[in-house]
Amino acid sequence: MTTQRLTPAPPEGAWLGIPPFPKAVKTELENSTQRKNLRHATGTIRAKRAVRASEVHNWEELRTAGEQIKNRVGRHLDHYLEQAEAAMTAAGVHVHWARDGKEANEIVTRIAKEKAVDEVVKIKSMVTQETDLNEHLERNGIAAWETDLAELIVQLGHDLPSHILVPAIHRNRSEVRDIFTAEMGQYGKAAPEGISDDPPELTAAARAHLREKFLRAKMAVSGGNFIVAETGTLVIVESEGNGRMCLTLPETLVSVVGIEKIVPTFQDLEVFLKLLPRSSTGERMNPYTSMWTGVREGDGPQELHVVLVDNGRTDVLADPQGRAALRCIRCSACLNICPVYERAGGHAYGSPYPGPIGAILNPQLRGITSKVDQALPFASTLCGACNEVCPVRIPFTDILVQQRHRVATKKTSKHPTIEQGLMKAAGWVMGDGKHLASVQQGSKLAGRVFGKKWIGPMPVPLVDRWTQARDVEPPPTETFRDWWKRERGDR
């Protein structure tokens, strides 16, 4: 590139540079530092969540309440969105509608240009990750500074987030020290000379680096955890206070929010403010909860914009099975419990939404045209651990299977595939006991060939994927069916 970038460049190709899950995983599995970091971090949060959930005597009822409130929102989304728009407008908020990510990015950029700013401070936001807002702003000469500590680590590290809640979960503190030392000075206040990897020292460096930006910025961009339809109140739940800074200091605040983030009434928040922190950070209460309803003269931003983003959400809503994924409140409990995520990390999912929620949401939001999105529903063993921790009871495994069906149907729509042929054959074999018995002649023959010797590595395509790491017990020369006939006759 010839032009000087304003902010640290993301890795080459960013999300689009990542291959489909099975291939991406190969590289991730070999990163032993990352695996250690992930095992430690997910294990810790997982255990905390379990304790915090067990403290609430009516936790299971709360989960059901969360599920039902979100289902109601989905059923009457048009109504609640208009109600929210009217309430926000009445409170002095400029409400914008964005059909897709491109429109959302253009709206934010236009506002920034109208305000003649060349930088914005950002509160961690998933939807702007989804729309790749930072790079859009960069191309328009506007620097977007991430102010969440982990997002800062990711941005300064020329990296991509790998977790919804803790985007730098794949980094340990000595890696963070190296990133701060090398990068901070190029984009603002440098890290102190000879800084150690002691967390208080690292956070102090981040604090000083960010403080400069908070005090200077004229515009902030946020996401939003909830919008209360009846009052038009925006809610952000956070841990570090950087959000509070962004929400109160700059003159202009633009909040980019997915249309599914609505809750009908203020009282509905009580359910989610209890479910969310316990499910995500494993805390009883998150340190900072910001709620704001329109503009207050002499207090906080004097110009408020809310960009309501669809970007595929109405497509998800149209799918009777898949729509449950829109209940997601981005807590990350499904990531932390997932044995596949724990070993792969977030990047392998090729999206800011990794883990089980990414495996069901991305193919629905983005469609299943790419190999990446076609592979995601298969990035799970269907172990069901995610189903059990989800605070809004998303039936992950059911949706995964439905999405697999969607992918299989698409792949076989033009011409038959080998996999489909195998499945059809299996359907025939399993359609009748006689068919299975005849196929078992083959396994019995194999049993005679191998005798009692376990089968080692076999350089046969597909078979080698199993035998690369596992021996196989030889098949028996007598099936159960045969034994039954011999021992019990025709009973």
Partner: protein, 263 residues
């Protein structure tokens, strides 16, 4: 009633109960010792066991790979084989989970309302062996003898989809001579996942290796589970590593007595 007849009735909680064994395609074909043990155990407890020969499979390998249409014949065959039975018992939490959780959906998807109703009704009468023993027969001590150090791996579908809970542990704790040891990370998936093990083979191996390491660390001689597919995955790694630790199905332990050993 004399003392001995009381003991005899206590030993035969399954007297008068007819059980249709669903052997499952994988153990029927690859591991007959598991359904054989299930038969011997149920007969020892007084049940009359039948084996409907038309039976095959639960169909989850097709359904979970996304091929719903290709699963219909299997669901039909399951209903044909077991639809009239009062108790269908399988030595597999996963296959029972598929019957209960997927058969009706597959039939609905094919637009076959009659099959959906039959599948739903048959599913309600289908049990995993540990459920059948604890809930239907009301026994935890089945008179088994297995003098070994054993770690229990709770397979995911049994644990999370049909909520077996501590039933398998209750049964194991009552086994004579058996020493149950803790399995670190027990509730983590072994990485099998059906076609996952082929489509995401590297991840599957990573998970299976961690499971095998935990099994070895537990100090157990045997790792016991309720699903042969998971055990086959774990055994594959344990054998490749020449660890000397064996896998065994819950039914095999419960079937073994002081007179007749397992396998």
């Amino acid at each position: 009633m004399t003392q001995s007849t009381i003991t005899k009735t206590e030993r035969a909680p399954g007297a008068g109960i007819r059980v249709a064994l669903f052997a499952t395609c994988i153990t029927d074909t690859m591991k007959p010792s598991v359904p054989i043990a299930t038969v011997k155990l149920l007969e020892r407890l007084g049940c009359t066991v039948v084996f409907p020969k038309s039976q095959t499979c639960c169909g989850q390998i097709m359904a979970n790979t996304g091929y719903f249409k290709e699963t219909v014949s299997t669901v039909k065959n399951f209903v044909r084989s077991f639809g009239d039975e009062e108790y269908v018992v399988a030595p597999s939490g996963s296959c029972v989970a598929s019957v209960r959780h997927q058969h009706e959906m597959i039939a609905e998807h094919a637009g076959d309302k009659e099959l959906a109703a039959d599948a739903s009704s048959t599913a309600k009468r289908t049990y995993d062996i540990s459920e059948f023993l604890v809930d239907v027969l009301g026994v935890t001590d089945v008179g088994a003898w297995f003098p070994h150090k054993v770690a229990y791996h709770p397979s995911c579908h049994g644990k999370r989809f049909i909520h077996l809970g501590d039933r398998p542990l209750q049964l194991l704790q009552a086994v004579g001579g058996l020493q149950l040891v803790d399995l670190p990370g027990a509730d983590q998936c072994c990485g099998f996942g059906g076609t996952f093990s082929l489509k995401n083979s590297d991840m599957s191996v990573a998970m299976a290796s961690d499971k095998a390491r935990n099994v070895i660390d537990s100090g157990a001689e045997y790792v016991v589970g309720g699903d042969h597919a998971c055990l086959m995955n774990i055994a594959g790694v344990l054998h490749r590593q020449r660890s000397g630790v064996k896998t065994i199905h819950l039914a095999e332990i419960l079937a073994s007595t002081q007179e007749e050993g397992a396998r």
